[in-house]
Amino acid sequence: MTPAFVPGQRVRIADRDAPGHVRTPVYVRGRIGVIERVLPRFLDPEREAYGVNAGTEVRLYRVRIPQVALWPDYRGSADDVLELEIYEHWLEQAEEDAR
């Protein structure tokens, strides 16, 4: 399956409550970042944790977020970044003018 996002594309990580085995940390929900690289597809841990381990592969991406966008009082370079892995169903295209 073709990845929905490409490296360099601006994305917004969904801001939603989700119970269970969710690998999207709360501190990045709702944040805007850039696709750092496209990773393979993996079993969806949110379903695998409940024994559903067949036919649930979802695309994984590495997303890069500026540290100053995560923490308003961040102490460090404006170039410092946080990178982490986000599943496709947690991503949406970010509007270009969003900052």
Binding site: L39, F42, Q67, G76, S77, D79, D80, L82, L84, E85
Partner: protein
């Protein structure tokens, strides 16, 4: 003075909640025949057989072999599997290169994800709540506490190992090591330098 030959363990402590949980689960799985006690022992042996010398050998080879370095950075999983390393849980790896412009630091904020096939079991501090929360929040302060000052004009990339990939940091080769053998170089590559909290040893 106390008796120097006294046993170190003076009191038998009660197992904590998680020790009871783990033991109960193991007994149930073995008791119901879902796994054998031999499998548990074999897995413990596998875990014990992996330590940071495996990662250090990869880094040292990359320092002396440019083609290997390029392949390691491009597809670390393939290199690991071609290197005869027992990738016992089929982990996928990403190798991150320290450069004069960029310092990489690895953390798992959600639990304790770690490249165990390359480094063995993670140190206790890596699993601690302060490290997991502060490494993403104030990486420069955390690095300073490890004795690693990162200049302001060096970008810090913090990698939250939150899902499927496992990360190994390739430290920079120290100056003054020209002509060193791969084995000599590997001794400079510490566990902490492959997590990113410190630099490689200097000669």
């Amino acid at each position: 003075m106390s008796d120097a030959h006294a046993p170190i363990e003076t009191a038998v402590e009660e197992p904590d909640y998680f020790e009871v949980l783990v033991e109960s689960l193991r007994e149930l799985l073995v008791g119901k025949g879902l796994i054998g006690s031999g499998e548990v022992r074999a897995m413990v042996e596998t875990l014990d057989a992996h330590d940071p010398t495996i990662g250090a050998a990869l880094v040292a080879r990359a320092w002396v072999d440019g083609d290997f370095r390029a392949r390691l950075l491009d597809d670390a999983t393939a290199v690991v599997e071609q290197s005869g390393i027992d990738n016992y849980d089929h982990t996928r790896f990403v190798v991150l290169e320290q450069t004069p412009d960029t310092h990489n630091l690895v953390v798992c904020t959600l639990c304790s994800c770690y490249p165990r096939a390359l480094l063995g079991l993670p140190p206790d501090w890596y699993k601690s709540r302060p490290y997991r929360s502060r490494a993403v929040r104030e990486p420069r302060a955390v690095l300073a506490e490890f004795g690693t000052g990162v200049p302001d004009d060096v970008r810090i990339r913090v990698h939250d190992s939150n899902a499927n990939m496992r990360y190994l940091v390739m430290p920079m080769r120290p100056v003054g090591t020209d002509g060193w053998t791969q084995e000599q170089l590997a001794a400079l590559v510490t566990r902490d330098s492959m997590i990113g909290v410190s630099l490689a040893r200097t000669p």
